[in-house]
């Protein structure tokens, strides 16, 4: 039984990271109708920057906040300077540009930081080998718990932003009907840029926390997380923030259970395969996801 809880706790913790990144994907999709293929790489790049700020002497918490701010600027900047201009010409072009961003950020990170000796991202939470809590007989490391809590708090803040603030109303309006949004005086450009900015900031936090749990920072840090996030957004529905969170946590727990209880069949190698199969199956049978609305053909 302890094994079960172990998988659940670990699954929730990492699932929270998938959910964070998936939320970023959903925010961008709802606001602009685009899939940001470079979401994971942006997160990775900002994680490296956060590490860099920290190694220059900035206290950790401040470095993390700074990293998130950089993520916001990066996201908003990409939308204003690249995405917006290409979107006018062709929707497929936006996807190609985000692939270019994906590649570019990856190469850039490798070139800038690749030569350094393996470095570790410091953790916000106590992460010594004996920093854990025993719950139901299973081991829940403080840093994993911390990840889940911080992620939940951030997601809560985002929901508050959407539902209770004027700007959140503006974002929802633009997502619903961009033309009418202009007609009531909402600055749609700012809203679009902010969508990407918010996604960038959330990605930065997700990457930073995730990076602290892995060994060394490499340019491939967030790639698998991106896949899990894509699977979460697909499963939950690309225009459903709540769906992304639920799906992210579920996939996190699900993959742990699958890998743990079927080591012969799935094990560690095919864990990612679970997410990929989910993407395939959902898109084949219910493309709008579990909680999304049936507006699948936005492109």
């Amino acid at each position: 039984m302890e094994r079960f809880f172990q998988y659940v706790f670990d699954g929730l913790s990492f699932g929270a990271i998938y959910a964070l990144l998936a939320l970023g994907l959903v925010v961008v999709f709802r606001g602009t109708g685009h899939l940001n293929f470079a979401q994971g790489e942006m997160a990775m790049f900002c994680t490296f920057l956060t590490w860099q700020y920290h190694s220059w002497g900035v206290p950790l918490v401040l470095a993390i906040l700074l990293g998130m701010a950089t993520g916001f600027v990066m996201g908003a900047g990409a939308e204003v300077s690249l995405i917006r201009k290409v979107a006018k010409k062709s929707e497929a072009g936006v996807f190609v540009v985000s692939i270019a961003l994906f590649l570019g950020l990856n190469s850039l990170a490798a070139m800038i930081w690749g030569n350094l000796p393996p470095e570790q991202m410091a953790s916000l939470f106590p992460d010594e080998p004996d920093d854990f809590l025993r719950v139901f007989g299973a081991v829940w490391r403080y840093e994993y718990m911390g990840m889940l809590l911080v992620a939940l708090v951030l997601m809560g803040l985002l929901f508050l932003l959407f539902s209770k603030t004027k700007f959140g109303l503006a974002m929802r309006s633009v997502a619903s009907n961009p033309e009418s949004a202009r007609l009531v005086g909402i600055p749609t450009g700012t809203v679009l840029a902010s969508s990407w900015g918010i996604a960038g900031a959330m990605g930065a936090l997700a990457g930073t926390m995730f990076g602290a749990t892995t060994g060394e920072l490499t340019a491939g840090l967030m790639f698998t997380v991106f896949i899990y996030a894509s699977a979460s957004a697909t499963l939950g529905g690309f225009d459903s923030p709540g769906g992304a969170v639920i799906a992210g946590l579920s996939i996190g727990v699900g993959e742990q259970l699958a890998a743990g209880y079927a080591p012969g069949w799935i094990g560690q190698e095919l864990r990612l395969g679970v997410a990929l199969v989910i993407i395939f199956v959902v898109l084949l049978f219910k493309p709008s996801g579990l909680f999304g609305s049936v507006k699948v053909q936005r492109v």
């Binding site: 109303l169 619903s176 009907n177 009418s180 949004a181 202009r182 007609l183 909402i186």
Partner: protein, 234 residues
Amino acid sequence: MSLLSVQDVRAGYGPLEVLHGISLEVQAGEIVVILGANGAGKTTTMRAVSGMIAREGRITYEGADITGTSAEKIVRLGIAQVPQGRGTFTELTVEDNLRAGAYVRSDSVEADLARWFEVFPRLAERRNQRAGSLSGGEQQMLAIARALMSRPKLLLCDEPSLGLAPLITQELFEVIKRLNADEGLSVLLVEQNANLAMKIAHRVYLLETGNVVASGTAAEIASDDSIRKAYLGA
């Protein structure tokens, strides 16, 4: 000085020019109606005034040139458009739609909400419902109320009767007429349904394939036989 003055405006979509230099004006406190068949350029006129499309020529509002002003800024100046086809935020609740309409205002909107719920009781009943679940007539009311939430001086209405039963349309036009009479709200209305529109209009313009072909007071237009036969179905 007229409230809105449109002078020799050309506008279109890409290489296609739809308006070939139209001129019209709206005085403060007037209801001006633009009539015309499909494809005459009525919606294009609305969008040119509200700033949604690029236009050449000259448009002034309260004396100031707004020819190059963006749509978002034009709303702040006091012009609100009710788009063709309602354009409600279908995923948002009725109340959220109204609050969105008041985006440009920084003061409290509770009084306005209460007021429009009073004017349109059916919206009050459905205040927490998704706007997309409302009937066509209710959505039209919602769209008008939403536009009015920004307390505009000039209301642009694009074919409010489209797809609505005559009774509902009458109700809507009554509301517009009352608002104009009681508060001096100026209205620029484009319509295909000439009869109802003419009943509340002060002045009328006739638009045909991007040109103004006739204008005058409602009475003049209504009594001109040739115009009546050609455009108003005798």
